[in-house]
């Protein structure tokens, strides 16, 4: 499938700011099932650092602006050819040992509710393989947290989302990571784009899911929000230990002023 992406993130400032620095993870991962045909990340007025690849295989780039009067806009535009790999991440060069992804962070720390969810999901699976256990966990998270925009916010932790009993893709991914860790499975957070859900209904195009390491298969993506594994509708950008670590844009405003954020993402499948 050929997907075109147009992703704009605009920050407006009430008063001029002294500078902005951003670490951008907005370039698709190089792996099986993702072939970039054309890709551009633009921040008008910024000095851009070279694109480099970190140990986890993500493409990272720094953008700095000396002073900004009223706004800055990050634009990602590109075309990519995707294929369904049933969620399995293959052909991805990375050097971080999977076992390093067994540690939780404050955002993925389990609480009692998460422990109970994990235990219940795995109760009937004694002796089952890791893949089956991971699927069971993803389904359990899907059921436990109905998709509810606005129920949580950008800094909500897995435990808080559990208490809330609702969430968005970020919360699903973080709760699933917490569960996987409890089951002894390395897990991480992945950010990217989603073209359409299985039934073709509309959705949020910026997306996030979890990857769980399954012996014999490697990293496998699990999208608990949609109770599926990533397929040709998904574009994988980068990964991290939690939502903050894997954020496509991590930035800092120097001489901070009040800012408002506006994000639009349009993804379309080209006719073939």
């Amino acid at each position: 499938m050929i997907l075109t992406v147009l992703h704009k993130t605009r920050y407006d400032f009430a008063t001029p700011v002294g500078g902005i620095i951003q670490s951008l993870r907005l370039t698709p991962a190089r792996c099986e099932g993702q072939k970039v045909l054309d890709w551009r990340v633009e921040v008008p007025g910024a000095v851009m650092g070279e694109l480099f690849r970190d140990g986890a295989g993500d493409y990272i780039q720094t953008a700095s602006l000396r002073s900004v009067t009223d706004h800055v806009e990050v634009t990602v535009s590109g075309t990519i050819e995707t294929q369904d790999t049933a969620g399995v991440l293959r052909g991805h060069r990375e050097r971080v040992p999977p076992r390093a992804y067994l540690r939780h962070t404050p955002r993925t720390a389990p609480n009692r509710a998460i422990r109970e969810l994990c235990e219940a999901a795995l109760a009937d699976l004694a002796g089952a393989g890791d893949l089956d256990r991971a699927h069971a966990l993803a389904s359990a998270v899907h059921k436990a947290l109905p998709y509810t925009p606005g129920a949580t916010h950008a800094h909500t932790t897995a435990a808080e989302a559990m208490n809330e009993g609702a969430g968005v893709c970020q919360d699903h991914a973080q709760v699933l990571i917490a569960c996987a860790h409890l089951a002894g499975l390395p897990a991480r957070y992945v950010s990217g784009y989603l073209n359409a859900t299985e039934d073709g209904s509309p959705h949020e195009a910026s997306h996030a899911w979890a990857e769980i390491f399954i012996g014999g298969l490697g990293w496998v993506g699990f999208d608990a929000s949609n109770e599926t594994c990533p397929n040709e509708h998904y574009i994988r950008l980068g990964s991290g230990v939690d939502a903050q670590d894997a954020a496509p844009i991590r930035g800092l405003v120097l001489g901070g002023a009040e800012e408002t954020l506006d994000v639009t993402v349009v993804i379309e499948a080209q006719q073939q």
């Binding site: 500078g19 620095i21 951003q22 670490s23 000095v47 851009m48 650092g49 070279e50 480099f52 970190d54 140990g55 986890a56 990272i60 780039q61 720094t62 700095s64 000396r66 990375e94 050097r95 971080v96 040992p97 076992r99 390093a100 992804y101 067994l102 540690r103 230990v241 903050q244 991590r250 930035g251 800092l252």
Partner: protein, 472 residues
């Protein structure tokens, strides 16, 4: 018990050779003269401004660490062996770091448990797979040593991040040379004053490949409120490099720049004296104002070298410590010259049981603790203290390790009544760059309270000048 401690000046055969040049000196010293000299030393330290603040203690922020004028002395042959052992250990620790952030051969070979490394808080995923210049992570390795006999040394712990205290090594010598110049004419004491030059050379040798001129080296300090600020500015001065704070640096493009009156100046090597977590709010703690936003991107794309490398802390964890002799054998194919103190990992149920049954004989420390805080010295503790500690231990065993109470050697020390033996340890500073260097000396810390085995300055410890008698 007291007679079982090794006395570095007098053993069963009387005066030991390295101290020969000091016997007459202290015996002939009139009491008033001594008091006068002690006051002079304090005045010198005050003038240099060497003070230190103790975390969480409040009180005088400009406190002096007590300085004891009686030097601690090593013979040339004693030092030779120590030097070989220290350099060996520093090389092994760096080989380990370079391995666990790469293929992890030592883990694949089953010599160190994977979880101990990869699940360690100090293991930085952000730099996994990145190789710093020359593959060196810890450029200044501070190795804490204790002595229990003429030929018996133990490593107490390794410090691979930013070991502090080297300014005392240099200033203690400076003060001694000013006050007792004749001692240095009579004893052939090997000099330590080229430390700063060697440190600068070490840092220059790890400049990034992108740097095509004389590297610009800076020292990054958390600022003048930090307790070790004096040391930071002292080293910057000696090395002839700028002492910068996070706000003095910024990232643009592929490099890190320093704000100067002549405009931005590229920085090649950063000797940082701030923790990993605060280095870069875009990579680590987002609320850090001490670091430089974007720095880790520049580092990982080869635009700047950070000393010590982020992630180096995984090698000096007290749980990893047990495996350092194994590292020496695995990476260097050599037998370890310096021994570890036998250590019980409370994380292991069988070892925990032993520790719990023998608390009154052991020293129990927090795995991630430092500065002598949160530790139990069994033989010196009363029953109530031991009981309180036992409860903490039971609650979170994997947070602790235990070691036997070591019979730390003693060195003569000036006390109220004259001279008395007091327990000492030693921290030498090994430099690792293109070459591995060790200046002949280090920081000797002394427990000034009679019978005390705790040498930490925060808990009544003092410092001494450390001499190595030069080779014939």
């Amino acid at each position: 018990m007291a007679e079982t401690y090794f006395n570095e000046m007098y053993d069963a055969n009387g005066l030991r050779a390295p101290y020969r040049g000091l016997e007459g000196w202290y015996q002939d010293m009139p009491t008033e003269f001594r008091a006068f000299k002690q006051a002079e030393a304090e005045e010198l330290f005050r003038r240099f401004g060497i003070t230190f603040a103790v975390y969480g203690e409040g009180g005088d922020p400009d406190r002096l660490i007590p300085f004891d004028m009686f030097p601690r002395v090593f013979a040339a042959d004693e030092w030779r062996r120590l030097e070989r052992g220290i350099k060996q250990r520093a090389r092994a620790l760096n080989a380990f770091l370079s391995d666990v952030y790469d293929r992890g051969e030592i883990i694949r070979a089953g010599r160190i448990p994977a979880d101990l490394v990869y699940r360690n808080e100090a293991y930085e995923i952000a730099v996994s797979g990145f190789r710093p210049p020359l593959g060196i992570y810890s450029h200044i390795v501070g190795i804490d040593l204790v002595r229990t006999g003429a030929d018996q040394f133990y490593v107490l712990e390794d410090n691979c991040r930013t070991p502090s205290g080297v300014s005392y090594m240099l200033e203690n010598r400076e003060v001694m040379m000013r006050m007792f110049p004749h001692l240095f004419q009579e004893n052939r004491v090997a000099p330590v004053d080229n430390y700063a030059r060697l440190l600068k050379r070490t840092m220059a040798s790890v400049a990034p490949a992108k740097c095509d001129r004389d590297p610009n080296i800076v020292i990054l300090t958390p600022g003048h409120f930090n307790s070790a600020y004096y040391e930071h500015s002292f080293l910057a001065d000696l090395m002839g490099v700028e002492l910068v704070e996070g706000q003095d640096l910024f990232v643009e493009g592929d490099f890190c720049w320093m704000r100067t009156t002549e405009g931005p100046k590229k920085v090649d090597v950063i000797y940082r004296r701030i923790d990993d977590a605060f280095l870069d709010p875009l990579c680590f703690r987002p609320d850090s104002a001490l670091g430089v936003p974007g720095l880790m991107n520049v580092y990982r794309s080869g635009g700047v070298t950070i000393c010590s490398a982020p992630g180096a802390g995984v090698a000096d964890d007290k749980a990893i410590y047990t495996f350092v002799p194994e590292m020496v054998r695995f990476y260097l194919g050599e037998a370890p010259i310096l021994e570890n103190v036998p250590t019980w990992q409370c994380a292991r149920p069988d070892e925990l049981k032993y520790v719990q049954e023998n608390l009154s004989d052991l020293v129990v420390k927090e795995v991630h603790g430092s500065g002598g805080y949160g530790m139990l010295v069994g033989p010196k503790a009363d029953k109530a203290t031991i009981e309180t500690f036992a409860a903490k231990l039971a609650e979170n065993p994997s947070n602790y390790i235990a070691q036997p109470t070591l019979a730390l050697s003693t060195c003569p020390t000036f006390v109220e009544e004259g001279i008395a033996p007091r327990h000492v340890d030693l921290r030498p500073y090994c430099l690792v760059g293109r070459d591995v260097e060790l200046v002949p000396g280090g920081l000797t810390r002394v427990a000034l309270t009679e019978g005390s085995l705790v040498v930490n300055s925060s808990q009544g410890g003092g410092v001494k000048d450390t001499w190595v008698i030069a080779e014939e």
